[in-house]
């Protein structure tokens, strides 16, 4: 897919940076979490730029539950600004 795409940082619900490289428990980078707001803004902008250029390949047999119950705040990534 080579046509121009434009991804807005606001369309990114969640940004998990780095490889999860531990074999026992799932981990999350937190230094960006605690850094100044400008760092977080830069992370989202950089990811949006990367999303605009890479080739797309879809995997998985199906998506998840589209029911309203499953789409509660606990079952989906929170939208930016969600409590």
């Amino acid at each position: 897919m080579s046509e121009e795409r434009r991804i807005e940082p606001e369309q990114i619900l969640v940004a998990r940076v780095g490889n999860g490289a531990n074999c026992s428990s799932i981990g999350s980078v937190v230094d960006t979490l605690f850094a100044a707001a400008v760092v977080g803004t830069a992370v989202f902008a950089a990811l949006a730029a990367a999303l605009a250029t890479e080739e797309v390949r879809v995997v998985g047999e199906r998506g998840g539950d589209a029911s309203p119950e499953a789409a509660s705040a606990d079952a989906r990534p929170a939208r930016r600004g969600d409590p």
Binding site: I7, C23, S25, G40, G60, A73
Partner: protein, 389 residues
């Protein structure tokens, strides 16, 4: 990039940079996707894991006092063919990352082949090792992994205080050998009452050896660590409450130039409930992809006997790894873990960071309280039980 449809949009694993991104539907449409697999229409069951922990052996000669699977030199080992079939199932489910572990995975001779098999299936392979006995030649054969994490709880006595023997020098040699071999290296640091106090020193040493990341792990009462010793080794309540300020200090001290990162594991997230800044802006945790207890949800573990568990520390379900794609949604054990997270009791129900934390570590709760319930070491749970919250 590799994309997996979700009801709210899509998970996207980038390949030019190590990141997993959740896009809303508008963002997914901007990629040229339209939900044609039906993920945005009819109900299709809970989402598959994004990350799976794959135990490839229970063999290990290190004898760490707190080993969570009680690994031994004559432990069970999984066949290569079985692992490849499990990788097929992970691919079919749309899993993004597979973390090879054990036991000591480098006791196997086929890790390079297995890393290649994962990549062929579009899955990012990563590895955890003690580093003990890792030669230059063996280190070079780990180049197929996106990252290798070496267990390193601190220099000298700090390491020994966690594992019961001084393997720090061997771990440090392994880090250096992996870096020289061109492997991206992180360190796993188990937080005990003793190692917590030396964290700054440990991270500085790891970085000086060439590590690019430190993953901080809560000490958990599983395997050989499920004993009374756990109660003296776990973080003190004061240490748990200080996690937020400690992470800020570590970030400012070691990560300001962007060349070194600090991660926390799922079980440490509840300790952030004591952090006022986090509690004032809890959405920040989810925006930056901080995962709490995803056991049975975004995370699954496959044991050496082939059975799937909600996480590496939990008792297994009936489901087998080779059936993950077809059976993840309906397995009753995994469903029970997900159902608890969807409707936890107080004080989790009203907690501002519940969406990320998801009730804390159920393995700790089962050991300390004998129940699948709120994390008894969470500062907010402690305050609730004492009547202060």
């Amino acid at each position: 990039m590799i994309v997996r449809y979700e009801p709210w949009g899509a998970w996207v694993k980038l390949e030019s940079t190590a990141a997993l991104v959740a896009l809303d539907r508008d963002g997914a449409r901007a990629l040229g996707l339209d939900g044609s697999l039906g993920a945005w229409g009819e109900s299709a069951g809970p989402s598959a894991p994004v990350e799976v922990h794959l135990a490839v052996t229970e063999r290990c000669g290190a004898g760490c006092e707190g080993c969570y699977i009680d690994a031994r030199p004559d432990g069970r080992e999984k066949s290569s063919d079985a692992i490849v079939r499990e990788l097929d199932a992970l691919r079919d489910a749309g899993v993004f990352t597979v973390a090879f572990g054990g036991g000591e995975p480098t006791t196997r001779d086929d890790l390079d082949v297995l890393a290649a098999a994962a990549r062929q299936r579009g899955i990012t392979p990563v590895l955890t090792t003690s580093g003990l006995g890792l030669t230059e030649a063996r280190a070079a054969r780990l180049r197929g992994f996106a990252q290798v994490n070496v267990s390193y709880d601190g220099p000298g006595a700090t390491y020994a205080s966690v594992r019961g023997f001084d393997g720090a020098a061997a771990a440090e040699r392994a880090i250096e050998r992996l870096v020289r071999a061109g492997v991206r290296v992180g360190v796993n640091v188990v937080l005990t009452r003793a190692s917590f106090e030396r964290l700054g020193h440990t991270l500085a040493r790891a970085r000086s050896l060439g590590a690019c990341e430190a993953q901080l792990l809560r000490y958990k009462p599983a395997g050989r660590a499920a004993s009374l010793d756990y109660l003296t080794r776990r973080l003190s309540p004061a240490q748990a409450r200080s996690l937020g300020p400690t992470l800020r200090f570590l970030g400012e001290s070691h990560c300001a130039d962007g060349a070194f990162h600090v991660r926390i594991d799922c079980a440490l997230v509840p300790f952030l409930s004591a952090d006022d800044a986090i509690m004032r802006d809890p959405g920040r945790l989810t925006r930056f992809g901080v995962f709490g207890c995803e056991a049975g949800g975004a995370l699954a573990a496959v044991r050496t006997d082939g059975r799937v568990a909600p996480c590496s520390f939990a008792a297994p379900a009936e489901l087998h790894g080779e059936d993950l794609a077809a059976g993840h949604a309906d397995d009753p054990t995994l469903a029970r873990w997900r159902a608890y997270v969807a409707a936890p009791p107080e004080p989790c129900a009203s907690c501002a960071i519940r969406g990320a934390c998801k009730g804390g570590c159920k393995v700790v709760a089962a050991f300390v309280d004998g129940a699948h319930g709120p994390d008894p070491e969470c500062p907010r749970v402690i305050a609730h039980r004492s009547g202060a919250a």
